[in-house]
Subunit: 350 residues, 2 copies
């Protein structure tokens, strides 16, 4: 049932892996919607999708698609956002963009509501949703930073293929099937669909997500480094990342080492802060073999933190293991939480 | 063809994942063998295994099995090594033990031939083969330490199930098949066969290898920390590890951050050292998407290093990605290289 008191929402990239999650999450959270416009490229236009009791036909996006839209949720790749976001803003919509197109634009707030919701007030039409692997890390690090001060972060990621879209999920499944049945399979999507080389992801680990920059880090690694500093408003924070793709369908994991401002802390101090933090579930009972894993985090809203332990050499150093559903908190859910915050703060006008 | 000028070799745990690799590697390297005795528990005794043109029947191990044996290669679990290693030594054999039973014993050399072959001269009958994840890391770090001095290591591992034995490989395959066919599967082996809880490894990542110690690190993590210091003879080296099991059959990967003694180094300096190092293959051309992966390292002898890059904040800091076949250099090959070094150094008497 649509709600006449609600907002006109558009979802750009409605047929993609994240687009589908956005539609499901809007429904699950009973987001106040008076009209839902589903948009895609010409190729996917005509697809029929369910929302509550309605069947909605996906339309090909044109600039006029955004007439009357209050909030447009973009998740169709950076070039589509570059092309259509300003068209949507000109027509009065607020754009929440889930691509990397505007994230480092100093005019665009980059928001994880639990961390920096206040930045929404500075928006000029576009708000950027951070990279999936960044969101879950800053959600866990912000309460630690607030309580104890953060100096340094070194992260190694264990990322699911769904971060590379529905085609990558299909590739993982088809390739795994082929290998188990001793059949040939020619990878065509991972690590980077547009790249020259493609590698097997089934039963493998690929230390490349996105393309390489000149400094030897990938763009995915640089996103984690730069976005973390921007969201946490800590340009001097030391951050390093190694990003790795795994044969996991959904759920990103991160092995994170931090150095804090204080040397007098124990694991219990971090537990106390994390167990009270919004959007965080502490899963940390090693004696009971309780720790976060992608298989148990999938489909859940929270960021799960466990394996918290003090470094054996650095008194200010702690290690932890952070897992979240990359399609939910890492993408669709955070996008919708931004929209909810915009409404709560009175920043959306109908 | 057995070689009358060779040595009498015994393989303890001949039917296990590593035992099989030991037999194949002895054959591939044309190890000088006059007699090959294959041993196992009562359960696997009677199995017939091929070695060159011979078919050898696996016998149940008893103390007398080691009469006349020159070198006994043990890979049947710590409790079997505890029970039989001294029996073998009393009968004149040198034991190369691939379990954790004796690794931290100050009387027992812990050897990676490329790193500390000289320690073999101090042996008192037993020589320990390090943990798989440690071997490949120290093989890559030793040349860097020698050239530039090493201060600190932080490693996150991406470990294959074959490190947990043949049953874990079977579990990964059966479970993956079951999930792809929407069938139920009840895990019984991973993460720790003897543990109370077992978790799905297919399409998942489990941040537990071996059981937990009181400090929150697992025994696997403590093995990496303590064995690295012992092998590199650097008790003051700062080492931290997070060990994670992946749905990969064979090939361990490691995301390694190091801090060196010097601040004037560039990636090219590390490349120069690694490309000359014994047992190391540098695979580091990001612009060509060339980097190590388990799928390309499996079945190969070397340790592969790539993704070498300088930290963006610490001038003395470098990141790298180290991959090797955990059943070869991580286990069988290193065991046999130790035996070859013993012969080369004149330490085996017939």
């Amino acid at each position: 049932m649509l709600n006449k008191q609600g907002f006109h929402i558009a979802v750009m990239g409605a047929t993609g892996a994240v687009g589908q999650q956005i539609i499901q999450t809007l429904e699950k959270r009973n987001f106040p919607i008076s009209q839902l416009t589903l948009l895609s490229s010409a190729r996917s236009a005509g697809t029929k999708l369910k929302f509550k009791d309605e069947t909605i036909t996906v339309q090909e996006a044109v600039p006029e698609s955004f007439e009357g839209v209050d909030i447009a949720l973009f998740s169709a790749g950076g070039s589509i956002s570059q092309k259509f976001a300003s068209e949507a803003v000109q027509r009065g919509a607020i754009v929440v963009d889930n691509t990397s197109a505007f994230r480092m634009d100093p005019e665009v707030p980059l928001v994880v509501p639990e961390v920096n919701e206040h930045k929404l007030k500075e928006h000029k039409g576009i708000i950027a949703n951070p990279n999936c692997s960044t969101i879950q890390m800053v959600a866990a690090l912000e309460p630690i930073q607030k309580a104890f001060g953060l100096k340094k972060v070194i992260v190694s990621t264990y990322q699911a293929v769904s971060g590379a879209g529905a085609e990558a999920i299909q590739e993982l499944n088809d390739e795994t099937n082929a290998i188990l049945n001793n059949q040939e399979y020619k990878p065509a999507v991972l690590p980077v669909a547009s790249g020259e080389k493609h590698y097997q992801i089934a039963f493998n680990a690929i230390p490349q997500i996105d393309t390489f920059t000149d400094n030897g880090f990938t763009f995915e690694e640089m996103k984690m480094i730069n976005e973390t500093k921007k969201i946490m408003e800590m340009p001097e924070l030391k951050v390093a990342a190694t990003c790795v793709r795994l044969p996991v369908e959904t759920g990103h994991s991160e092995s994170v080492y931090v150095e804090l401002d204080r040397e007098d802390l124990k694991v219990q101090d971090l537990w106390a802060v994390l167990s009270e933090a919004p959007g965080i579930t502490l899963q940390d009972q090693p004696e009971e073999q309780i720790y976060p894993m992608p298989a148990t985090a999938v489909g859940k809203d929270d960021v799960f933190v466990g394996r918290v332990r003090q470094d054996l050499d650095e008194k200010s150093g702690f290690h932890m293991w952070i897992v979240s559903d990359n399609l939910l908190k890492g993408a669709a859910l955070n996008t919708i939480q931004i929209a909810e915050s915009l409404i709560k703060l009175g920043l959306v006008t109908k």
